[in-house]
């Protein structure tokens, strides 16, 4: 019925970027592949002045989430990066409180993937922002469609 949590990627564009980046990574070339992101108005409003400077979509940050969620109550997400990360922020702009989590990462966990389960109030884009230890922000985004929203289930 449902594909396993999008292990094989859910945005073909992102896969393409990843493949491109693999060969050039490490030669500081990732920037030339980076796509500057125009955050949506909702995302900008949610982030306020937390994220300053440019945010770029590139292979430096990966977000894994299933494209079709069975309920909005508990959707597995995983963020990871080949860079050392100091801070992760996950944004679900259509949630009543759009900042899902804001994580400060100590040096011991700088290369840690982080997994959790989130609630989504509606079908929407989920945005993962990762700030490298040098201060640059990287982003990945994925659309999650709810096949039934049970976020406010009163059972």
């Amino acid at each position: 019925m449902q594909k396993p949590a999008a292990q094989n990627g859910h945005f073909s564009r992102r896969i393409a970027l990843k493949i491109c980046a693999v060969g050039l990574f490490g030669s500081a070339a990732s920037k030339s592949f980076a796509l500057p992101v125009t955050l949506s108005a909702g995302q900008r409003a949610a982030l306020g002045n937390i994220v300053s400077g440019n945010v770029t979509f590139d292979a430096a940050v990966s977000l894994i989430v299933e494209p079709l969620a069975e309920t909005g109550n508990a959707i597995p997400v995983r963020v990871s990066s080949p860079l050392e990360i100091a801070r992760w922020i996950l944004v679900a702009e259509k949630n009543p409180r759009p900042i899902v989590f804001d994580a400060s990462v100590g040096p011991l966990a700088a290369r840690s993937p982080i997994s959790t389960r989130i609630r989504l109030a509606a079908t929407q884009n989920v945005l993962a922002l990762g700030q490298s230890r040098s201060g640059t922000w990287h982003a990945a985004q994925a659309n999650v469609a709810l096949t039934a929203s049970a976020c406010y289930d009163g059972t």
């Binding site: 804001d102 100590g106 966990a109 290369r111």
Partner: protein, 105 residues
């Protein structure tokens, strides 16, 4: 508060330890109607801190966007043998803790 903190008892020097944490908590949205037709007050875990021998591993701010009975998985590289301490606090001010000892070999 009931919680399950699962971490390896031993890791090789320089290798990451896989940590998985589940906390029993309703992450109450503040919209759920109870049997007596009153509404359950919003009550969520708001902060969570993981430290290893007083070194910061992970500090989380969270809220209603995290699923009930929060689950977190992360890794870190313990610089030496010691104890991973996790501490969290909800809207009602209730605190919980969990710990795991990891030996580096």
């Amino acid at each position: 508060m009931t919680a399950r903190l699962i971490a390896p008892a031993t890791v090789k020097a320089g290798e990451p330890a896989d940590v998985k944490l589940t906390i029993l908590h309703p992450m109450e949205l503040g919209t759920r109607r109870l049997d007596d037709s009153s509404i359950a007050a919003r009550n969520v875990i708001e902060t969570l801190t993981a430290t290893f021998e007083n070194e910061a591993v992970l500090t989380l701010q969270m809220g209603t966007g995290i699923a009930a009975n929060p689950f977190w998985a992360f890794t870190f590289v313990p610089p030496r043998s010691g104890t991973l301490n996790v501490r969290w606090r909800d809207t009602a001010g209730v605190e919980g803790t969990a710990r795991a000892t990891i030996s580096v070999q």
